[in-house]
Each structure stands twice: as structure tokens, then as C-alpha cells.
Subunit: 145 residues, 2 copies
């Protein structure tokens, strides 16, 4: 907890961001969370704070953090945005369609990047990023079918 706080303060200072309670709380959530977070989850968690936090504030905060490159967004097939620390290495997700559990996966992307280059050349596109997500059923949810 203590070491998190210092880590966060360093990050914020380095990015010229003021230290506010919302910001601290959000950063804490991102550092602790194993999964990408949705705004509704954040609001839920923040609602326990004294006087709560307005959703506008959260959206604006996320925009800031994204602009500074501290967090990045992921689309996971439903209609919301999810957010996670950008400092994590590039990776993809395994999403259980039943229980919505999300797992990070790191796979060998050489072949994918090679394909990317080939396409890029052929089509004249500059490819800036890709999004690759896998959907299925986790071990538990398979058994309950």
C-alpha cells in the first residue's frame, strides 16, 4: 500500500499531474487490478469514498491518464471501453463469454508482425496498432454447461 502510494506519486509528478484523491484512487485500482477495468467498475469502487466521485470526473481523469500514456484502452466485445496500465507489455486477452472473466495472454507475435508488414506493403497502409482478443469458455464454465 505504502510503496504503491510512492510509486503513484512519482508517476504523477513525472507527468505534471496534481495529486488528487480521485487520481490516487484510480491509479491504485489500476496497479492492483489483474484485469482491465470498466468505468462502471471504477465508479462502483469509488462510490465508497467519502462524498463519492462524479462520473464526469472519472471520464475526464481517464482521458488525462491516456493522454499522458499512463493507461490504454481495450475493447472486449461488449459496448464499453476497458482501461489498463499502459506500462504492461503488449498483450492480448482471453475472455470467458459466460462469466466474463478476463485473462492476459502473452503469445509469440513474430508471425503476426510479419503478416502486418506484408499487408502494410501490399495495401500502402501504415499500421499503428492491432487488437486481438480470444473469446470462449473458461474451465469452470465448460463444466456447468
Amino acid at each position: 500500500m505504502k510503496q504503491y502510494t510512492e510509486e503513484i506519486m512519482d508517476i504523477l509528478k513525472a507527468n505534471n499531474l496534481r495529486m488528487t484523491k480521485t487520481r490516487m484512487a484510480l491509479m491504485m485500482m489500476f496497479l492492483k487490478s489483474e484485469e482491465p477495468l470498466s468505468v462502471s467498475e471504477m465508479l462502483e469502487a469509488l462510490s465508497s469514498m467519502k462524498r463519492g466521485v462524479n462520473k464526469t470526473t472519472v471520464y475526464r481523469e481517464l482521458e488525462q491518464l491516456q493522454l499522458k500514456g499512463i493507461i490504454s484502452t481495450v475493447q472486449l466485445g461488449d459496448r464499453k471501453q476497458y482501461y489498463e496500465l499502459a506500462s504492461r507489455d503488449h498483450h492480448h486477452h482471453l475472455i470467458c463469454l459466460e462469466c466474463k472473466q478476463i485473462e492476459d495472454i502473452d503469445m509469440n507475435e513474430e508471425k503476426l508482425l510479419a503478416e502486418e508488414k506484408k499487408m502494410s506493403r501490399k495495401k500502402g497502409f501504415v499500421i499503428l496498432r492491432h487488437s486481438l482478443e480470444f473469446f470462449g469458455l473458461c474451465k469452470q464454465c465448460q463444466c456447468q454447461e
Copy 2:
């Protein structure tokens, strides 16, 4: 035009779907379109029809067609669903972040499927589908930067 109409009637008959003007118009759009379509695009196009078409109808129609396996959905990074004919072979998209142009790409997926199997074994997940989209700048939009 004529051959499209017959093709559509065959598809509908084969799927036990009544032949209505909305349905015909939507199928026509799907057959003609090079790109996945959003509901707003469909409504725009359908609004020129006599008496227009209600959005509820379009949503319900899309659900039907999806249920019958005639169309399928794609997520392209914004907050909407896009739809395209399911009969097209499995493929991915190249999306221009500037002009929103969408191109189909077909790439060799052997390696990807191999990775999928490996992950599946390791994590105990059954993988049912994946989503892979590339984002960047098309030839024209690169020059205008």
C-alpha cells in the same frame, strides 16, 4: 439487381423468413457493400424508402438474420456494432483511423490457430472465436498529415 433479388429470395425462403421490403432492402445492402455496415448507415440508406423504416425494426431484423447465420457482427474500435454477410470467408479488417475506410484482409492464420490451440491447452479454455483488427492510416490519409 435482378439476380440479386432472386438470390435474396432464395436465401430467405431457405431460412423460413417472410419477404418484406425492409428485409429485401437490407439484404441488398449487404450483398452490395464492400464494407461492414453500421445501423446508422442502414437507417440513413433506408430513410429514402417511402415511409422510412423504424430503427427498432432494423435492430430486430439484424437479430433475425444473425440468428439464422446469414450475417455476423464485427467490432471496429468505436462504440457501435457493424454487420456483414456471414457467407464471406473468415477474415479481418484494416481500419483507417483518419477516414474510417475499412478494407478486408485475408491472411494466413495457421500460426494464429496453432497459438490458439496451445493457449487453449495451457489455460483450459475452449476458444470459440477471435477478433483481430488492424488500425492505421491509409495511403491517402498518410499524405495529408
